[in-house]
Amino acid sequence: MSRFPITRTALILLALGWPAIAAADALTGQTEQQAANWPAILMFSAFVLATLGITRWAAGRVRTASDFYTAGGGITGFQNGLAIAGDYMSAASFLGISAQIFADGYDGLIYSTGFLVGWPILLFLLAERLRNLGRYTFADVVSFRFAQTPVRLFAAFSTLAVVLFYLIAQMVGAGQLIKLLFGLPYTYAVLIVGALMTCYVLFGGMIATTWVQIIKAVMLLGCASFMAFAVLWNFGFSPEALFARAVEVKTGLAASAGATPADAATKGLSIMGPGGFIKDPLSAISFGMALMFGTAGLPHILMRFFTVPDAKEARKSVLWATGWIGYFYILTFIIGFGAITFVASNPDYLMPDGSLKGGGNMAAIHLASAIGGDIFLGIVSAVAFATILAVVAGLTLSGASAVSHDIYASIVKKGQANSADELKVSRYTVPVLAILAILLGIAFEKQNVAFMVSLAFALAASGNFPVLVMSLLWDGCTTRGVVVGGFVGVLLALVLTILSPAIWVAVLGHAEPVFPYSSPTIFSMPAAFLAIWLVSLADKSGRAAVDRAGYPAQRVRAETGIGAAGASDH
């Protein structure tokens, strides 16, 4: 382990365990190109054809900006819950968390819990209010009673920052994963992802993006359920038997690596408790904060609340999403331990030196082959790739809406843009973002992508989350307060991340990090809240009076939805 075990494990898991996709090798080096896997390629082609069919169907329905951004508000709570879960349960959660459990056992569960607990918070404090106040983007909500231009500038900046860091990581991860699974060269892989995602978003807008996400979520849940069931079936549905066998396998591996019997037994048993996470409590807490509160500030997730018709459906969608995501994490826990028992001791899946063929992240993929043969391996590989595409499409849509709705329609046109022009601007933005993502994906091929993802989360927790909470819940909040506070949070998170071991030492090659912790959130998030509070208190401008006077009307609408624009407005 490195000097800061939490740093490395945390960052790797952020990259892996989260919608950001990256094979373990993708983080630090090159993945080995594999031979073409034909069942996987066939399955994947079937998925692509089906989703392009949906895009074609959806394209006929995208007529207004509302259709494009929010599927006309016609998505039900159940469908939206699945789509949100799809945004969350990436190939990375699936491959990354099961790989973490495969390597260290219990630690994988710690991440799963962090990934889940943001959802209840989002529901209790934000979800319904978001739906009642907003139409297309979370900036609609924040700027409800504030001066449009500065607030939307901040929102567009932070949305694009979060989306871009996320996109780069996705593209790099996708390229590595495809290279690994399908035997395609990296550049082709990145180009394919970029081209497909442009099709989905450009022609199908939110309708196609949502349905692609739903199909993928169902496929992923189906595959993971089958794998977990097969694992438990082999152990007579006794978790204790599964864990005992896993400990036995790990003990055997340690013994054959030359440990004394006592050490080997300790090593084997260590997978049943927390490991590397404990070295640095402050980083652990800061990282936990980024996971929990970052979730409630991710623009592509917040945008999903505008696709349902009202607050009631928004609320239901969180319950469905939380249920599916929680279920999925429990499955990955079983799959990870299953991989220890089926894969770790099977020479078919190992390199001569005992490491996993194709890299550490392939544990679940090998388990699929062990329990279902080549066909199931193909299905699981295709599903793993499909998830990347869907997540990338959602991110791009969110970035495009920040440009067309927040910058073009609200700032340039002062809210007077017609729906057709706004739609046109989004459609110009999508290929630009795609080309940008492809170029950055290629440029960053050899780069460590983990920090970009951790950055995206820290930025969301330090900028969007405090800004949303304060503007929604505090009557004294002013335009100047949220803009200054939001920028303080985002920029502080950015600067501290650059000074942290992940960049300052690993990328820039300095000997000692200026900022020794893995996540800036424990400092940058409170700093944002404090700045919003202090600046608002000190704000005696004329605008501040208007901002404060606007609170009652905002509150009534946030709480009751009275006067809320139905998302379905055509």
Binding site: I110, I121, F124, L125, E240, P274, I285, K312, T322, Y329
Partner: protein, 112 residues
């Protein structure tokens, strides 16, 4: 986009005042936000309690339950996930049954 004319603005302000002074509205908002914050605090305590346990007393989580290898950390970790789902369900249940009923009455009276 909110685009209100002067006259409409005054009208909207009056409507806001009416709703704000409605006792049912005040009761609904107070009860709901108190409930939301309570659940938020419960979730924060559960999650950060778990994180602090990992940060400072990890051996407690590694302790086996009974004679097998299954450790206390496994039901606790899975328990955090299940608690998150249950708290969410609790909120949605109460909101669907009680808050929505009160809200519908308000919305009827104020023409939404």
């Amino acid at each position: 986009m909110e685009q209100r004319g002067e006259g409409q603005g005054a009208q909207a302000a009056a409507a806001t005042r009416d709703i704000e002074q409605d006792e049912r509205y005040q009761r609904l908002v107070t009860t709901r936000s108190r409930f939301g914050w309570r659940l938020t605090i419960v979730m924060l305590v559960i999650y950060f309690g778990y994180i602090l346990l990992i940060a400072f007393e990890p051996h407690i989580l590694a302790r086996p339950l009974g004679s097998g290898v299954t450790s206390l950390g496994i039901p606790l970790g899975l328990g955090v996930i299940v608690a998150g789902i249950l708290l969410t369900a609790l909120y949605v249940r109460r909101a669907n049954k009680i808050f929505d009923r009160d809200l519908d009455a308000l919305r009827r009276d104020y023409g939404a």
